[in-house]
């Protein structure tokens, strides 16, 4: 197929389902979603009102699926969706929406706005109006194995290095292991210390685990792009690998969208239930802690806070687990304002951090995170999403802020009790 306006419109109509029809007809135009969106609060530009980002799809719904809308368009009284309009909306649907879901939480009538953004992107990509950077990332993911062009050979090099560092053997393609570990490209490329960290933790807690050579990368830029066809292909690789290795669990990496793609969207994308369960690495660590299998020693007395990744708290409900883990190893933990489900996005989720032209806007939006951090004066920010971690580091550098950013899993690994 080729991308075209009509193709995009048809795809968008295909996406308009019961929930979307209900949401659009329920919207009371109160504008409360605007104040929930960091792109609006930091710019005060009304075009960033979340529901406004869906305007072309709303009109399409009205014209194609409502009685009066159909009547009006038959009479030639409605404004059709044009190619120029979709082009103008591309920055609103992609650059200024991290799919953080804060607007969905704020909506007084319960409209899941981020659900609609996700669906609208399906039409946008078929119409040819998706950012080149996310398209490129998806292409690399499909063709090479990861959005940053990382192949299994790259991971193998890190595995060797980690085996040397820890003196432990890292299982690969181990059939019948309980857990299959999946990583994000950002972890492999920028935060590879996660590999020795999980190796030591799993050895300590006696977890039966393995990497899969044909399913090691969990990010899903197909989902960020808004193509279920491509997202299904990416998630299908992990499912195939997990089924081949007959694992009971697949561990989602410290990556928000990988978690959403694998845990929530995956079965719908491939059209069938998984024969295994998906857990986030932090969920697993907290289970191990609760079972007494994760013994730590020593307390970090650095003044630190925890940045809740949107997909973890709002879409995933993982709120208490990271705090319980943190309190086991940190004596000077403080919450930032609006912690947990109301936390503000780092500004780079949902593919935004991959869009180069969105960088200036993203830094403006980061002022929201900056104000949260300014309020608590910490030295360290702990998080459990490698993309948040990258974006936080970018923002801190941009605003000349001194804080360090560390991953929660690595922090736990540093405090593992010595074997007796």
């Amino acid at each position: 197929m080729t991308t075209s306006l009509q193709g995009g419109i048809n795809r968008m109509m295909e996406q308009i389902d019961g929930p979307i029809a209900t949401f659009f007809s329920s919207c009371v135009h109160c504008g409360l979603c605007a104040d929930a969106c960091l792109f609006y609060t930091e710019t005060q530009n009304p075009k960033y009102t979340p529901i406004h980002k869906l305007e072309p799809m709303r009109r399409l719904w009205q014209q194609e699926f409502t009685f009066w809308g159909k009547l009006m368009s038959r009479l030639g009284l409605s404004k059709p969706v044009t190619d120029a309009e979709l082009a103008a909306w591309e920055p609103l649907v992609y650059d200024s929406c991290t799919m953080c879901g804060r607007c969905s939480l704020a909506c007084p009538v319960g409209n899941d706005i981020v659900y609609m953004v996700r669906k609208m992107r399906e039409g946008m990509v078929v119409s040819g109006h998706a950012p080149d950077d996310i398209k490129g990332a998806t292409q690399r993911a499909i063709e090479l194995g990861g959005p940053m062009g990382i192949t299994f050979a790259t991971l193998q090099a890190h595995i060797k290095h980690a085996e040397k560092e820890t003196g432990l053997t890292i299982p690969v393609d181990q059939i019948g292991a309980d857990y299959m570990m999946v990583l994000s490209s950002a972890e492999i490329a920028d935060f590879s210390e996660i590999i020795p960290a999980v190796t030591r933790i799993f050895d300590h807690a006696k977890v039966s685990w393995t990497f899969a050579s044909d399913g090691f990368e969990g990010t899903n830029s197909g989902m960020q792009l808004g193509s279920s066809d491509l997202a299904a292909e990416l998630v299908g690789r992990l499912v195939k690998a997990a089924e081949r290795l007959k694992v009971k669990y697949v561990i989602s990496p410290e990556c928000g969208h990988a978690y959403t793609a694998l845990r929530w969207e995956g079965p719908n994308l491939i059209g069938r239930p998984y024969p295994f369960k998906v857990v986030h690495i932090i969920e697993l660590l907290d289970e191990l802690r609760a079972a007494g299998r994760l013994r730590t020693e020593g307390m970090d007395d650095t003044r630190l806070t925890f940045h809740d990744p949107c997909q973890m708290v709002r879409r995933g409900g993982v709120v208490e687990q990271p705090r319980k883990l943190l309190k086991q190893v940190a004596s000077n933990f403080v919450e930032m304002p609006n912690p947990g489900v109301q936390n503000w996005c780092c500004g780079g989720g949902g593919g935004v951090s991959a869009i180069e032209r969105a960088e200036p806007l993203r830094q403006v939006a980061f002022k929201r995170k900056k104000s949260q951090l300014d309020a608590i004066n910490v030295n360290t920010i702990v998080t459990s999403c490698s993309n948040c971690r990258n974006v936080l580091q970018d923002g801190l550098e941009h605003y000349h802020m001194p804080q360090q950013v560390v991953g929660l899993t690595e922090l736990i690994a540093e405090h593992l009790a010595e074997k007796k």
């Binding site: 197929m1 080729t2 991308t3 193709g7 048809n10 795809r11 109509m13 295909e14 308009i16 389902d17 194609e64 699926f65 009685f67 990509v125 078929v126 998706a130 080149d132 398209k135 490129g136 998806t138 292409q139 499909i142 063709e143 792009l225 193509s227 066809d229 491509l230």
Partner: protein, 362 residues
């Protein structure tokens, strides 16, 4: 030379003084809301008026209208003036019968072609070629059409002739229709009421005799002079309505105190007639004075407008059933519309072309 066929002459013959006659003319002028100065004109015109030929045709009716007219109390001028017209054909009143009766009708139609007044009471059945009511072997429809041809004007007396009346009530088995539905090329005046007030009938005739034309009519073809205001507007119980004092039953304190009968179903607020001013039975009273609400008999379709005892503000039909039917119809329409929407979506899903990596390659 005195014309022996004039009204004045006939009145004198019957012992009606000129004084009484003038009183009648003044009363008529005021009744029809004409300027007081027109009373002498009426008198002059009436005095010299020739007796016009009148053919009275009775169709699907109960003879109540004729009763109303003839029972107006003797010796009232109403009945007398009726004598002053040349009533050439009237079932109930004529002495002749059979062929002789029909012949007098035919003669009048021939002799006064284009000049006679045609009075009609009763509705006309139209279903099955009008066979539901025939006179001398001819259908009412046929008789009406024949008589209408040479009429100067038609006066539809009573609600049946004016608006269809009880014969036209649901389910209208005879296909009854009012005169105005069947005759389109003649001036028609509707004197509605079940029955109409006698002086209204005579008033209209007096107007016609005086001015040679029909009085000003409202949108339903009724003379404005008598049907210009509602019973409610002229009702002596109106002050109670304005004070919110209503009788709740026919024997409660409110009813005994003469309070407004609105809540007992009085149709006065929507009924245009002169009952409250001219009254009935020689001014003895009118229904509301007798303690019963107005039935609305001078308005079209009053017989199908719900119970006489249901207040006007209450729905006249089975609102629950209608709402249920509307909800069902709405649901059916919604199901049909959503089925169309589903079909649209399904066809899009069936023609879904997979997006491949080639489509997003830069």
């Amino acid at each position: 030379m005195k014309d022996h066929d004039t009204l004045e002459h006939r009145l004198t013959q019957q012992g009606i003084s000129r004084r009484s006659f003038l009183k009648f003319c003044t009363a008529m002028a005021s009744l029809m809301a004409l300027p007081p100065g027109t009373a002498p004109a009426i008198a002059a015109a009436l005095a010299q008026a020739k007796r016009p030929s009148v053919i009275w045709l009775s169709f699907q009716e109960c003879t109540g209208c004729t009763e109303s007219l003839t029972r107006s109390h003797s010796p009232t001028l109403e009945s007398l003036i009726f004598d002053m017209i040349s009533l050439d054909y009237h079932h109930t009143l004529q002495a002749a019968s059979g062929f002789a009766a029909e012949k007098s009708r035919e003669d009048a139609m021939k002799d006064f072609y284009g000049k006679y007044l045609l009075l009609v009471d009763g509705s006309i059945p139209t279903k099955d070629n009008g066979i539901y009511s025939t006179i001398a072997g001819r259908t009412n429809l046929d008789l009406l059409q024949e008589a209408a041809k040479g009429a100067a004007a038609i006066v539809a007396v009573g609600s049946c002739a004016a608006f269809g009346g009880l014969p036209m009530a649901k389910p209208n088995p005879t296909g009854a229709a009012p005169v105005s539905d069947l005759i389109k090329d003649k001036p028609i005046i509707n004197i509605s009421g079940c029955p109409p007030i006698p002086s209204v009938i005579t008033g209209v005739l007096a107007h016609y005799l005086t001015f040679g034309e029909l009085p000003a009519l409202d949108e339903l073809g009724r003379p404005k002079a008598f049907y210009g205001e509602t019973i409610h507007d002229r009702c002596y119980r109106r002050p109670f309505y304005d004070q919110g004092k209503f009788a709740k039953t026919f024997d409660d304190e409110g009813a005994r105190n003469g309070w407004c009968l609105y809540e007992l179903g009085c149709k006065g607020p929507t009924t245009h007639n002169a009952c409250a001013t001219t009254k009935w039975n020689g001014g003895a009273g009118f229904p509301i004075e007798a303690g019963h609400g107005c039935l609305g008999c001078s308005e079209p379709n009053f017989w199908d407008a719900g119970s006489f005892y249901t207040p006007l503000a209450a729905p006249t039909s089975n609102i629950g059933a209608i709402a249920g039917a509307a909800a069902l119809a709405g649901a059916a329409a919604a199901v049909a519309l959503s089925a169309a929407d589903r079909a649209k979506k399904k066809s899009l899903q069936q023609t879904h072309e997979k997006l491949t990596v080639k489509d997003i390659s830069n």
